[in-house]
Symmetry: C2
Subunit: 363 residues, 2 copies
């Protein structure tokens, strides 16, 4: 928890440091040394033991718990993505996370028909044994949560699980805390900010077998979830709508580009058929291995390098657009292990950001 909650250490760095230093404890011990070495860096200070213990106490008080990557309750689909959250805070019934899940997401300013459709779709998916996941937003999300309340409904929120957002969803929030589950990557008490939402969306798509998009305008958040779902190899479903309604522009566009046209739960269930059967079997055994990052160079454990020229070589080749680490290795004429070490230090220094698919960019 201390390593994971430390500023500038995202999920990808978290797992990279575990691989490099062998354990979270060892990584924490190296942190001051790593941070000191980067002159250009702002100081990285690990979260204190006291702060972590305070979070655990607050979790206990709130009736929430942690589910860690590698534990049996951690959703197996989510565990498999490149940037899986090392820790999930769960309020409500964590056992829901082991069932096969489908996301139903869409417009906040949804039409009455759209809300009704989502509620009925979620209820029908629930009847078929599927847990419905959404983002606890107004409109489609809230309707989907309500529809699946009796059978299994999980909200993935952008802030802390105890922060009701938006305010009008207090009723749904409370119902989910009792009958369903609310999960979050960020600690209790975190107020959701705009930049949190796309990160949150990767969890929605990552933990589900497929994402159903109901009423999504062009350039809406639901389309980000759909794109992430595609990148994660999940099925994307979209509900068609009139071209006269701008709320359907995005969902129609998804259909045009290959999403499954969806008019009812049967359209979803028949497409997911084989996956649902697999998902209904016993939960996967916890994985003891730190996730392998295909193509990601593995530095030698504990090794530190002094290579100012190497930092320059890498930094001058980076920009705001993510670039493949493999390409950096080729262009810098450095070994894969050297580049991995340099990138990790730059990341800890808050200079670079990692992206799924083994990409990095300048922060």
């Amino acid at each position: 928890m201390r390593l994971c909650r430390t500023e500038t250490i995202g999920p990808i760095s978290f797992f990279a440091m575990l691989r490099r230093f062998g354990s979270a404890r060892a990584a924490l011990e190296m942190l001051p040394q790593l941070a000191r070495r980067s002159e250009r860096a702002k100081t990285v200070t690990a979260v204190t033991r006291a702060a972590a213990e305070a979070e655990l106490a607050a979790l206990h008080k709130a009736g929430a718990r942690l589910v860690c990557w590698g534990e049996p309750l951690y959703p197996s689909g989510l565990a498999a993505i490149d940037d899986a959250p090392p820790l999930l805070t769960v309020l409500g019934l964590p056992e829901l996370l082991q069932k096969p899940m489908v996301a139903v997401v869409g417009a906040r300013n949804a039409s009455a028909n759209g809300r009704r459709f989502s509620r009925e779709l979620a209820a029908a998916l629930g009847q078929a044994g599927v847990v419905v996941v959404s983002g606890l937003a107004r409109g489609i999300d809230a309707a989907a949560h309500l529809g699946a309340l009796e059978t299994g409904s999980v909200a993935v929120v952008a802030g802390g699980v105890d922060v009701v957002y938006p305010h009008e969803n207090r009723g749904v929030h409370n119902a989910l805390a009792r009958q369903g589950a609310i999960i979050a990557e960020l600690p209790l008490g975190t107020e959701p900010q705009a930049r949190h939402f796309p990160r949150r969306n990767r969890i929605i798509s990552g933990m589900t077998l497929g994402v159903v998009v109901v009423e999504a305008a062009a350039r809406s958040g639901s389309l980000i979830t759909a794109r992430l779902a595609l990148e994660q190899g999940r099925d994307v479903f979209a509900v068609p709508g009139s071209p006269v309604d701008p709320r359907c522009r995005g969902s129609n566009d998804l259909i045009r580009h290959g999403a499954t046209l969806t008019e009812n739960a049967e359209d979803v269930l028949s497409q997911l058929g084989p996956l649902l059967k697999a998902g209904n079997s016993a939960p996967a055994a916890p994985r003891a291995e730190i996730p392998a990052m295909p193509g990601w160079p593995q530095p030698e454990r504990g090794q530190l390098i002094e290579d100012e020229a190497g930092f320059e070589l890498i930094l001058e080749r980076l920009g705001p657009t993510p670039v493949a680490v493999d390409e950096l290795i080729r262009q810098c004429h450095l070994s894969a292990a050297e580049v991995a070490t340099l990138l990790l230090e730059l990341e800890l220094a808050g200079r670079v950001e990692r992206h799924p698919g083994n990409l990095v960019s300048l922060r």
Copy 2:
């Protein structure tokens, strides 16, 4: 006209008789003899010269004209289908039939949004130089006609061009007769009957480059037009709609099965791009040849056979479900020419019906 207007002689038989006897005149002369030979047949009597002349006089009086298969004004796409109408009655501006055409069809009980969408779509297609074709029904059809009235609108009606149907479309009918065109396969004065509509739909799809379906319920006439369009190798476009609206069930289903999802004219125009350029060139030269029927056996001209056993062989293998002529030839152990002759006589006797794709069924 006399051969074409004779009962039980559909378009496929019409062309088959022309191929068999060399000319319509020769076919007319053989008709009594052919009909007599079939004991099981009701008598086939050719339309008289006087009746044909009366139709021509009535056409003249109504301000309409004939456009015959093979004439320059005959739509080239329509000329290419298996069961092209030998004669079209045209009220209004026949020159519209030479331009590139797109059909816009849909529900009679269309929503206000659907009507507005169709009208705007038709207007935008018209602005792009496309003539809009529809079926002069209430709802989507009427809206499409009105939208393209200024730029080019053609109605294909199931009855005679002078019969206003439905009554409330009198205004659109009159406007099309002045500014657009109304065309029909059946003679002036024919009241449209239920069985005429699917036949009419093949003309709508046959004369156009593509068919746009706006709001079509499951099992609706627009879906027949779409199916015929696919069989004729035309593009099918469908406008998505909410699954909550049963009027969109059919159009959504078309998208699910491969129709182009269509939200505006640009979606149609970009898909048809290359065809539109070809279609905008000078009209195709009139075709002097009687349409070749691929795989259709060609009997020797003028040959007559006496083969009661042959009739039995064929009849016992036919049922209400269309069967391939090739399959009949194989199973009957007769020559292709024999089967063709027997089928023609059975058809003239009103016993069998021909279908596009070289299929026949028991009537």
